[in-house]
Symmetry: C2
Subunit: 597 residues, 2 copies
């Protein structure tokens, strides 16, 4: 009897081996196929849906029945985390069950891969030097690379030299050499895999992508909170901290976390031969250890915007000794390399349609492309959309209320992880406020009206979203008048940014042909709710696309392709920067956008 | 009354200020004019002779009268260390009173200075960025350097960035920028001096030259013992040490000493913006921290011979944060960058005459140029010529016997520092053996014969060079049969090398047109004695030139001129390396050269 089967994943076309009785989720995980799961494979969240096209699996479990709809079950949908493999299988992974990067590939948003990384690998087989031909070790290698591959004037990384002689003689002259431009940056055993890492340093979240540089495939993704949160939730508070205490702590805590993530992802960081990094200008500067004082006050000057190539060891990032970090270029002010990477990954940089690109985060960057010309700005939207500064706010994890509907004095919502609710995540509060406004429980200025679910408290009023009695929880989960104000401030900042960009080009809302929403929060929100509260212009839903972490994808593109690095440079220098905080129309637009439609 | 006078030094043409009553030696020292002194200005050695051409000085002292000949006194010679300045003065520094580098310049051996260092300084005056024109700090600087000086695609050193913003704003945008190729490596206050450092890492001695990169002038020279001596006197014993204990200790003790020397020379190492380094391949490797195992056994392979440019901070050398070290190229085996630098400084690389270049040290390198083609080899001559392994051997310092004459059963010698003798230096022992052979006190095979000054001891015989009674010292200073053997081994190794090179080109001794002797020891020896013991071929004395530390001068040339760096590269790759130890004719030549003529 066979103990190993093959699972054929469609539509991505990957065929991977798996053991009999293994879950599809585990098999996919080992192969680096990022099937979404919020509960980590515990059959709680119901997000890891797949459809069986062919083959045998374990019979459907009770938990699966609870988490899948009848229609889904009828159509052979199953949960990857609990379904065990009993034969060769062919399964379909629906789009929504894949992590962003695969989604983008499937959506055609990650452009055709012209795999052309700055690091290339060459197989080497050296003749032993002799007394008659006493070629020094480096010159022996250099001559081979010239004779066989045509390289001229190569130079060695200094750390390579430190191990070259022992490596050469221990490996009998057979090994792989990695070359970057005119520099040999490392050697390894022959025919080993070699990797690159792309890092998206968000103000709140870090995302690290492990990429096989031989194939260009993303083979694992790891996320973590940015540990700098301990020194301030938003960019400005971190800059304040750095002004008083210097940047070292901020730099080092970030570095430690990244080194841990890289260690976990790779097992052996020495296999990582190239790194790309994106982040807003403050994250960029803090990663390098640049001061941020001048960034925190008008005229908000970065120390540098152009791209940088630095030996990773110079910045303390633990990867291969000779590896470089490529920091993608910034634009200006707080509009950083993450924005450039977003424009790169979404291809907004080459659209001829009037397109808005928006990456909602603690700092929100907005770009408007009109006839191929792009203007960008940064809005201090704050962390409210990420659940911070909200009374019962929480990040989008187990227990967070989302998908809120209020109708006929009845409140419906779902809870992530299908557990009793413990708070509200950003998309949940956005939904809630949208519903409150539709039901006229708040007025145009956001003030809570008299209502069965509204009660007076010392600090004003609050809306009871989940009551102790109904939800079986220990205390009510509420949305306060203050929470509503926080969201108003956030959405007003973003909407003012959008409007000012429209005015810069003299076009109307109706003329916007596409809105591309990037970022984890942006991917999770209900666009209709966002329009209803006035966060986005009121244009047809079909013009919106939610693309997930496009900044991370852009960082990956720059990792696997020299051409994309060069395009990123062109984007950064081509984008027109608009300073929002001192813009003459900002105050008016902002005040206006505070109101609800 | 004036308290400050001007001293005009001829023939170097320097005019320097000095205080009334100051010694010429002190004034010259402050100005970096390297007047030779073995006693450090204590009026003991009598080497710091100068000639008064014009002006008033303190009257001649008793010590001066003892140390100068009557003829010298009649010709206005004085000792710089004791003569005090009482008016403006014009003095001549005779060639022999100057350190090597100035000697070489005066001898025309340091070629016409085409000052063209890799580092150039540009004065900068930046416009303040504004909200209307929010240029990032680096881009502001980059744009200025492009607009004013025509630079394209400049990139910043990462450490420059870390201080750029504060430097820019604190200096009101006015400062000097230092550029190396396409990289801005540092900024300083406007119009400050900036320096380079050249380092000659000898197996026994270190020499550090501080050079004004604005003028190309050497402004100070500092020497020290190589602290690695603690781990072995010669190259092979250090390699053995490294094989057992790794290279870290050897690397670090050298680095510490160099950092101290640089600190002492400069007061502020941040002003040092470029560094060049020469040494034999073992010193070169140990400085970088490369393993030397493969260098210590046949086929004696260096890890690398080509020149290297490395950030000084990567190797732990304390100079300006953004500065590079340029390590000149090696040839092969132990023939290192110091040999290349010697060929560069002496211009042997472009002579059309049959020329031998020889740098005598613990390892001795010999080059022979015939019709512009150069072959080089390395001889393990050992430290005997530097006084090590010799019973009463010592380095050439106070108390060392030199200039030995033996005639009519009378021994004459001088003692460095004019103090009672405490030992014999290399040139002293070379003289002694030459005299012993001339007086037939040793036979052709070096055996001590019966003689009044020869006595038998347990281990054979010894020659009494300075007896307790005659020299007023506590015990006799002798030259043992074993000492003579050590010198025979050393001179035989070198002479075998010379002969094998002559055979490689098929020319006779008589056809040698020039012999250039470099190195501190080589500068001190009596060439006639060296010929008499068979160290050098017996050709007319007029064909010999003693040029001092030519390797150090070569390192300096590479510091102040890009062209010389490139010539050094051509020399290194053009020189034909001859492996001596395994040469088929070596044993015969060596055995033959053991004998005395």
């Amino acid at each position: 009897m066979k103990n190993t089967y093959i699972i054929d994943f469609e539509p991505i076309g990957l065929r991977i081996p798996c053991s009999k009785g293994e879950t599809v989720f585990d098999a996919a995980g080992k192969a680096g196929i990022p099937i979404i799961s919020y509960c980590g494979g515990k059959t709680i969240c119901g997000h890891c849906k797949i459809r069986i096209m062919n083959g045998n699996a374990s019979t459907i479990s009770k938990n699966e029945k609870n988490l899948l709809s009848e229609e889904e079950i009828a159509n052979n949908y199953r949960l990857a985390c609990t379904m065990r493999v009993l034969s060769d299988l062919k399964v379909e992974i629906p789009l929504e069950s894949l992590e962003t990067i695969q989604q983008l590939q499937l959506l055609g948003k990650e452009p055709q891969l012209s795999l052309d990384p700055v690091i290339t690998k060459y197989e080497v087989k050296l003749q032993e030097s002799s007394l008659e031909n006493p070629l020094a070790d480096w010159e022996n290698l250099e001559k081979f690379l010239e004779d066989k591959y045509g390289f001229k004037n190569l130079r060695p990384d200094i750390s390579l030299l430190q191990n070259l002689s022992s490596n050469l003689h221990n490996k009998n002259g057979v090994f792989s050499a990695f070359i970057r431009d005119d520099e040999v940056i490392g050697i390894t055993k022959s025919a080993e895999d070699y990797y690159g890492i792309s890092i998206d340093i968000g103000t709140t979240k870090l995302a690290v992508y492990l990429v096989d540089l031989g194939s260009g495939q993303t083979i694992a993704i790891q996320g973590a909170m940015n540990p700098q949160i301990a020194y301030g939730e938003d960019v400005m508070s971190r800059i304040s901290y750095a002004m008083e205490n210097g940047v070292d702590q901020l730099k080092n805590c970030l570095l430690n976390t990244l080194n841990q993530l890289i260690q976990e992802l790779t097992g052996n960081p020495e296999k990582v031969l190239d790194v790309t990094i994106v982040g807003n200008t403050a994250m960029h500067h803090l990663f390098i250890g640049l001061p941020v004082i001048q960034l925190g006050r008008a005229p908000y000057l970065p120390t540098i915007v152009q791209s940088l190539d630095v030996k990773a060891r110079e910045l303390g990032l633990n990867v291969a000794q000779g590896a470089y970090i490529h920091l993608l270029p910034n634009v200006a002010g707080f509009v950083g390399a993450d924005h450039v990477a977003m424009l790169l990954a979404t291809e907004i940089y080459k659209t001829s349609k009037n397109t808005i690109g928006i990456d909602i985060g603690t700092n929100t960057e907005v770009a408007l492309s009109v006839n191929g010309d792009i203007a960008s700005l940064s809005c201090a939207s704050g962390p409210a959309f990420e659940g911070a500064g909200i009374k019962h706010g929480m990040r989008a994890g187990n227990g967070a209320i989302e998908n809120v509907k209020i109708k006929n004095n009845k409140i419906d919502f779902t809870v992530i992880g299908d557990v009793p609710p413990t708070g509200i995540c950003g998309s949940g509060i956005l939904d809630t406020i949208s519903q409150l406004r539709q039901q006229k429980i708040i007025d145009q200025r956001g003030r809570l009206q008299d209502h069965d679910f509204v009660r007076k408290i010392k600090a004003g009023r609050e809306f009871i979203l989940a009551s102790k009695e109904n939800a079986g929880i220990e205390k009510d989960i509420v949305v306060t008048q203050n929470d509503i104000s926080e969201i108003q401030l956030a959405k007003a900042a973003i909407r003012a940014g959008i409007n000012i960009l429209l005015q810069e080009y003299g076009i109307n809302e109706d003329e916007i042909e596409n809105v591309v929403i990037a970022g984890a929060f942006g991917t999770r929100i209900n666009v209709e709710s966002a329009i209803k509260i006035g966060l986005f212009p009121s244009i047809p839903l079909s013009r919106f696309t939610q693309v997930g972490n496009a900044a991370g994808v852009g960082a990956k593109l720059a990792l696997i392709s020299k051409e994309y690095r060069s395009i990123a440079g062109n984007i950064a220098s081509g984008v027109r920067y608009v300073e929002l905080t001192t813009h003459p129309k900002f105050t008016r637009e902002f005040s206006h956008a505070l109101q609800f439609p």
